[in-house]
Point group: C2
Chain length 217, copies 2
DNA sequence: CATGTTTCGTCACCCGGTGTCAAATTAAAT
DNA sequence: ATTTAATTTGACACCGGGTGACGAAACATG
């Protein structure tokens, strides 16, 4: 069970989670997710189908790399945030930082997200993975509003935030020129301010900021 | 293919979509969704497994009754709305009306939503069904903002609206005393006004309206 | 009765996923 | 060096959801 904790004894692993994930991702992108069977992946990696399903709980989960660890970082960041700062500011900056991978792994991230947003099975499965994300946000909002996480307000705000992030992801996947971080920043500012004000000002606001090199650190 | 278009000739159906949906729902609630196999449902209805999958494209879809027709009504309502009225007002009222089923079918709706929000497979599948819902909202918002439906703003607003509705549903499922329509009304007012203002007024706003008999017509 | 039309059931099949168990491979203890 | 414990692996059987194909059943019409 320990990923790489000090190896005590026993037969060593012939492959790693990362290796499986990488090879599988390549196959999925090339030949399509549904067209690629688990046996194909197993053959490509050089292990049995059974071993594959010991590394990942399902075929869908192979596409999601190490998502849980990222989530822990997000939770920690939200917990350590300055309590005097506005809630939605903290949330926005945390979400942006949460998605600030390096330039190097960006193409891989795009591959993953392209699959997740386009393949129906993965699109559906994403709801389960994002539920954890949502719970982290709800927990933070609940603490700020002195409510319980199950209450309506934290749940609504967290779910709306999730929708905002997902929609932004979808746009980023389609448009290669879009800066993900800047787009997230803009979307969450919109969410904080309310969509009604947006509708009133019929002319669209400063949208120039969503493209280009602004990293929104 | 025609659900009940004038029957010309041929062998008559031994069952209907509604009958299958009702019987299956009862079984799912009683014995659990995953514990109930398609063969069980087929036996209970009195047809073969193959026939079941001709009525519904998948086991998951059985739980969703006629959702598409409701969606058409929502689209029509949004299309016919007064263009001079505020966008988020129209949206809020349409969503509330969309969920205004009669008192009679309310327990059945609760059963469906309880399954959808608690069973992981259905929770995941809901993303696919709600994607259509989301597209309808995005189409409306895009028209109002003179943008294309694929653009970032309509997508973000529609997804945030979806999250808002879903979270409210979840709360309603858990709390039997909650008035679904009033809760939706309140949540969408929050979404329109922005969550930031909410956080600033540390004291919670008039929450008394979310319980009781207000039907928000 | 003959014909076309529509629905139904059966069968075979694929794939994702689980449980089981023995074999393989290593470190550590004797 | 041999045994022992620990760990991973692969093979196998199995289940359930879902699809394709095909013939049979049940109707309306002529």
């Amino acid at each position: 069970m320990p990923v790489d904790a000090q190896r005590r004894s026993g037969r060593p692993r012939t492959s790693s989670r990362e290796e499986v994930s990488e090879i599988a991702l390549r196959l999925f992108v090339r030949r399509g997710f549904e067209q690629t069977t688990l046996q194909d992946v197993a053959d490509a990696v050089g292990v049995s189908k059974r071993t594959l399903l010991r590394y990942f709980p399902s075929k869908n989960d192979i596409v999601w790399g190490a998502f849980d660890e990222q989530l822990q970082a997000l939770r920690a960041r939200l917990a350590d945030a300055d309590p005097t700062r506005p809630m939605m500011d903290v949330l926005r900056e945390a979400v942006v930082a949460f998605n600030d991978y390096g330039e190097a792994v960006l193409p891989e991230l795009r591959d993953r997200m392209t699959l997740i947003t386009s393949v129906p099975a993965l699109q559906a499965h994403s709801m389960l993975r994002y539920a954890d994300w949502c719970a982290v946000i709800a927990e933070f909002v609940a603490r700020r509003l002195s409510l319980e996480p199950d209450h309506q307000f934290p749940q609504v705000i967290a779910s709306a935030a999730l929708g905002t992030a997902m929609a932004t992801y979808r746009c980023w996947v389609v448009d290669p020129d879009l800066d993900l971080l800047a787009a997230l920043d803009e979307a969450f500012r919109l969410l904080a301010a309310g969509f009604d004000a947006q509708a009133l000002g019929a002319g669209r606001p400063a949208h120039a900021g969503s493209r280009g090199a602004s990293r929104a650190r």
